[in-house]
Symmetry: C2
Subunit: 766 residues, 2 copies
């Protein structure tokens, strides 16, 4: 049990059309973006437009001022005494923008010809003034989405980032979108037109800096690295996002996934990212379509911005004059579809893609609205679940079916071993509202093997339902022994002669997202006294916890900004517990060497496993320790009576591409039943095996172990993760710590490590 | 002004003998450490003894139990069903210790034959039990100092550290000292005696782990790296310290300094670290003596433990029987000095070293008790200083002398320029209790150049003293014009004809530990209107801020544990401001390539500089901006009237040896006056130039810019530090961020970066 769906999600019967907001951008816009132009753009099918904040007039004015300053400097005998030039306030000829209600559909674009990070103090000074004037004016006009070109050189990233941070402070609702290429340079480069300040600085003002970077070969991850530096300086602000330019050639799947995990607000599709189909229409290549689909499945999909794909057709060209009434939506649609010589074919194509998005896999539909939503794990041992929670779990199309198969298999094996005769005693412990009881009875009826079925449940509210069901359900038919008890205190079933008998098959569903995190091992140890010591079978028989390091900027940013009071935690504690979360916008840091280019399999390691029943010798030692009969003590305190359920592990993960680790994604696998005959019934949420073992199972989301301070990895790093399942006499908790190494000249060197994280204070109570 | 000495330090007239606590350790102690033995050890001159917690009997018992367990396993058909063995409680034959008052002079030693980090779960399990039993028993006996051997292999450091962390939880007063070599292996290795569990594990129990480490060449910094990992996992606990074994050959000065910066509680000198002098007595080599001296100068010097230098001589050997009365101290001393065949020559030699420690440099004597003590910088512009604070500053043997020289030089230059005639107008702004006034008058009297002297002071309390001094001091003799005013509002001196005149020389002492951090630039800009526009001279004429990255585990640990309420700060803020601190136990991370082996010069960079007077054009632009006449705005808010005093810089530091950066050490240099003739009077706290420019100056401690999360550096790293001096219309603050790079195959790759730190909320008010 792992998903707290309180009052929320569930299957959507029909999937609605994908959401796609479409905008239009021109790198050199020649007509002012007026309310009228916007209205017309929306009439032809766009949702929004970009708008330069200032005009070419403003640029000329700044350049003239710079030249004037240069002359003053040249004439001055003490250039250091000349104050830096100041740009006077914007005048109406400097900007076409004005406050209007429709401005919420505009994305303001700051001047691309400035260089915020120039090594020349003069250029940097002027650039910061331009930037600051522009952002402040856009905010004043009520435009809260501002797109700004990324840094000109990697050398100046820190200065650039500092300027962006400052700009975020200019308005409380400002959203800054940093325009970046996926790799290398922007396809639509505006810096080559001779009036870019970075170029002026190189040509005129300062001697070129002694670049000690090797700029010859741009780094594949250079653009991502710049982004990472900028958002790190801005402390993962939720108001800082990316305008990602999609190139004609998509980079490797690894780099695609990396960007997918980042907060992309605008997806910029330049004309060059389209190809022509056989009929000459612009379309996207298959890989581009798939990448777009990945983005459209995000909880908050980015807006798609078509760049330089042609101007908004004028009303005149359409022979639409202002006096004519607006066309009805039907007319507009008809027009849009029929027009032979379509003036907006790129836009139309994207609307087509929007209509034809493939449907989502069940878990995504089921979890809609829960993507990347952090929840504390359930504590079913200390809390009583509500009916709706049970109901959600019972909807799983796979889980209970697999349980039924496992029970049937076990019944057959036992019948063979024990021979015909007395019915087989099956107990469902933690029966909830009884779904597993039904499955046991179905397995019995399908195999024709008689069972004596018990249902044990500690929740008094669920107990009412179990009794009612036993009385009214045709299958149950009054044959189920319903017991209200914590399974650990249940003495066992009463036999026909009034004695306490043993259970042949003990069925439970106590697993959490990380297998043992809801104390299945402790519960099953506690009920083992009812199991037949020779041939008793546990379903599940064994289970294991699995994990892999991941990058999740979104979750990290959420946790950073989250008040700990949301979770009744103290400030330091919000990093000190695992969360159940439907991981969505994230990236695997360690992937297995790929057989095919388009497959990407994470390296998921098995942390540890448990199998049942536990050896009698071990349980007997444990019970002696519980009484304090031996004084050895537990490893982390207490008598040590549960120490046999402590675990630890340490694994090395190879990470080929540089990145930032924000934590560990955790999963589980379980063998419900493995027959000596070789048949096996398994469940898995491990992304590597889930499709093979239990495709479309929806009951469990992954678990996420956060890192308080994200860890940097260079290319070809090795991450070493140490994990512990700790226990004292009252609770169970996890601890995790991560180290980063690299190999240089065959030698391993350590690059860093995280703190030790421990959920001791938030441990699961036994 | 930088040191807040409130009620504290000052020159000690005589330096007392160095403090040295001496202990005796035996790797294989054959006699129980009884109260009697301890008393005798103290009688012969030791302060303390180490004591093994358990006896060889206990070790045999554990080994026997292990063998029994192995047989059980061998006989079992299901080895995984056999519970792990438990060690039964200690019995009197297992330990010689018992609770006694004298136990506070004992250092308990845990069994060196365990392997807490064994990859074999059985060995790890048994080792942790032994460790836990022992530490808990020592704590029960009231022994709070526990020495534990460092990890056996680097592979298991995380597990080892986890065990140490757990042990720290066994008693609230426990101090754990981890025994480590400076590099490589311990000289006194106890793991080779055949009964070490690590060895047993290798031989008997498990197949050797597939070590993928290249163990052939031990890393020079391997031992330090293990320590760093352990204390990082223990979150820089102040109860976790080092017992450092000093080898026969000391490693490089860099590695010596690294260890010196770490929390060494015990300095273990094994027999092998001594050499024999000409007379055959054991002595330490010069380098060892110097290293010891460095440690003894720490605020809390480590205890020195002599290891395996011979047993405590028995009372019988001394022909002292218990019935004989204790010798008087005089008798004991005589005996200690005269005995020809000294049974404790190593101890005696160290006592000799203790008596003959060289005296400390003035700043260390002056700052005694202030080493590594973090203070918030003064805010003299908003707070009024107390007399005692002035008094402390006035004791500086160098600073005021140098000011007098600078004034004399400036007087001579001005007299030459202006010719004889009217007296030269000298104003001391921020005169305090008047020490600079006195120096101005002395310079005048020594050079025979007449001055008209003004003393401007805003502190009304100091103003009283200035007036009294003018009336009573023979040198002042009523000739000083005392003005109570903020210097920025002072119109200037009144001339004989009642008009407002100009000042020829403006003397101030407004510098802070980082030069401009107490707003000298803003104050001097504010008073510049009184300075003669053509020939006016500022003393100081210019100043610059300097910094270098440092490792300071002590300061980091202090800040971590410090309640922010100590400083009236919010939790997140304690990392967001610089501190004035007498840096003491720290290490430079970037040192200049050394000319000599025994010299180690940090790489200190100049962040930025200011010079006075400021150009009139710049001041005039600033005053226009103050009125909002131009709307350009400041870079970080406000009108931008102080933007000309904003600064920024970015530097790369090369760091040859791996380490952890905890922050930046900051310093200043100033040119008080540079004569056109070439003569220059300078002050410096920059460790590279301080001795040359102003040796023995005591008025300023360095400044420390902390990093919230320590940054790891591998060998040959490059650190890139970006710093800003930011300003709006009301205050000034600093920002700093650090990146780490390395070069691999000629390419630079980024390894990590810090957050952006900003003291905006704690800025200095203008």
């Amino acid at each position: 049990m792992a998903v707290d769906m309180d009052g929320g999600a569930g299957y959507a019967a029909d999937e609605p059309t994908a959401i796609m907001y479409l905008g239009q951008h021109e790198t050199q816009r020649h007509t002012p973006v007026t309310g009228e132009l916007l209205a017309h753009a929306q009439y032809v099918g766009y949702d929004m437009l970009t708008a330069p904040i200032t005009t070419p007039h403003f640029q000329s004015r700044v350049l003239a001022m710079l030249e004037g300053h240069m002359s003053t400097l040249a004439e001055s005998s003490k250039p250091e005494s000349v104050p830096l030039p100041l740009i006077s306030p914007l005048t109406p000829v400097d900007t076409d923008l004005t406050p209007e209600v429709s401005n919420s559909s505009l994305i303001a674009v700051t001047s691309p010809w400035i260089d915020l990070a120039s090594p020349d103090p003069l250029i940097a000074h002027v650039s910061r003034q331009v930037f600051s004037l522009e952002v402040a004016y856009a905010a004043f006009c009520g435009i809260n989405n501002v797109m700004v070109h990324g840094p000109v050189s990697s050398e100046g990233t820190m200065q650039y980032a500092r300027a962006v941070l400052e700009a975020l402070g200019l308005g409380p609702y400002l959203q800054m979108h940093v325009l970046l290429p996926m790799s290398g340079e922007l396809e639509q480069d505006v810096s080559a037109d001779g009036t870019h300040l970075a170029e002026l600085a190189r040509e005129q003002f300062i001697t070129p800096v002694d670049e000690d970077e090797d700029e010859s070969e741009p780094e594949l991850y250079g653009s991502w690295e710049a982004w990472n530096a900028i958002r790190t300086m801005c402390n993962y602000s939720s108001r800082l996002t990316i305008a990602l330019e999609i190139p004609r050639q998509l980079p490797s799947l690894n780099l695609q996934s990396r960007w997918h995990s980042e907060p992309i607000r605008l997806l910029v599709l330049p004309r060059t990212s389209f190809i022509r189909n056989a009929k000459g229409y612009p379309v996207l290549a298959k890989a581009h379509q798939q990448y777009l689909t990945r983005f459209l499945r995000l909880r908050f999909p980015p807006w798609v911005i078509l760049s330089d794909v042609g101007s908004i057709p004028s009303r005149d060209a359409d022979a639409v004059d202002a006096s004519r009434p607006e066309p009805t939506p039907a007319e507009a649609a008809a027009k849009a579809n029929d027009k032979p010589n379509d003036p907006v074919p790129h836009m139309r194509y994207l609307r087509h893609l929007q209509q034809t998005q493939p449907s989502r896999p069940p878990i995504e539909r089921f979890g809609q609205g829960y993507q990347d939503y952090l929840q504390s794990p359930l504590q079913p041992l200390t809390d009583n679940l509500e009916s709706i929670t049970y109901e959600v779990f019972e909807k799983d199309p796979v889980k209970y079916e697999w349980y039924e198969r496992a029970v049937a298999l076990a019944l057959k094996d036992l019948r063979e071993k024990l021979g015909e005769g007395v019915p087989i005693v099956v107990a469902v412990v933690g029966a909830g509202r009884g779904p597993l009881v039904t499955r046991v009875l179905q397995a019995s009826s399908k195999t024709g093997i008689a069972v004596k079925c018990c249902a044990v449940e500690k929740n008094p509210n669920a107990h009412v339902l179990l009794q009612r069901r036993n009385a009214t359900d045709a299958l149950w038919n009054g044959q189920v022994t319903v017991v209200k008890s914590d399974m650990r205190s249940w003495p066992g079933p009463t036999t026909s002669n009034g004695e306490v008998g043993k259970v042949d098959i003990l069925v439970s569903e106590l697993l959490g997202s990380f297998a043992d995190n809801e104390l299945s091992p402790e519960c099953l140890d506690g009920v083992q006294h009812v199991l037949h010591p020779e041939h008793g079978i546990n379903i599940p028989q064994s289970y294991s916890a699995h994990f892999t390091p991941i990058a999740t900027p979104k979750l990290y940013s959420d946790l950073l900004s989250r008040a700990s009071t949301d979770l009744n935690l103290t400030v330091s504690d919000k990093w000190e517990l695992p969360y159940v979360v439907m991981l969505h916008q994230y990236d695997y840091l360690s992937v297995q060497p790929a057989a095919e280019e388009d497959a990407r399999t994470p390296d998921v390691k098995e942390a540890w496993s448990f199998s049942h029943p536990t050896s009698e010798a071990i349980l007997s030692q444990a019970s002696k320790r519980a009484g304090g009969t031996t004084d050895a003590g537990g490893w982390v305190g207490g008598d040590g009576s549960n120490e046999h359920n402590a675990r630890s592990c340490k694994f090395t993960f190879n990470c080929s591409d540089r990145g930032i680790c924000h934590g560990l994604g955790g999963y589980f696998e379980t063998v419900l039943y493995a027959s000596p005959s070789g048949q096996k019934v398994e469940l898995s949420t491990n992304p590597v095996t889930m499709d093979e073992k239990s495709q479309d199972m929806i009951s469990w989301f992954p678990i996420f172990f956060p890192l308080k301070t994200p860890l940097s990895l260079p290319d070809n790093a090795e991450m070493e993760v140490s994990m512990w399942r700790q226990t004292d006499d009252r609770k169970v908790w996890y601890e995790w710590i991560v180290e980063v190494y690299e190999r240089v000249g065959g030698k391993r060197r350590k690059l860093g490590m995280s703190e030790l994280h421990t959920s001791r204070k938030n441990g699961c109570l036994m």
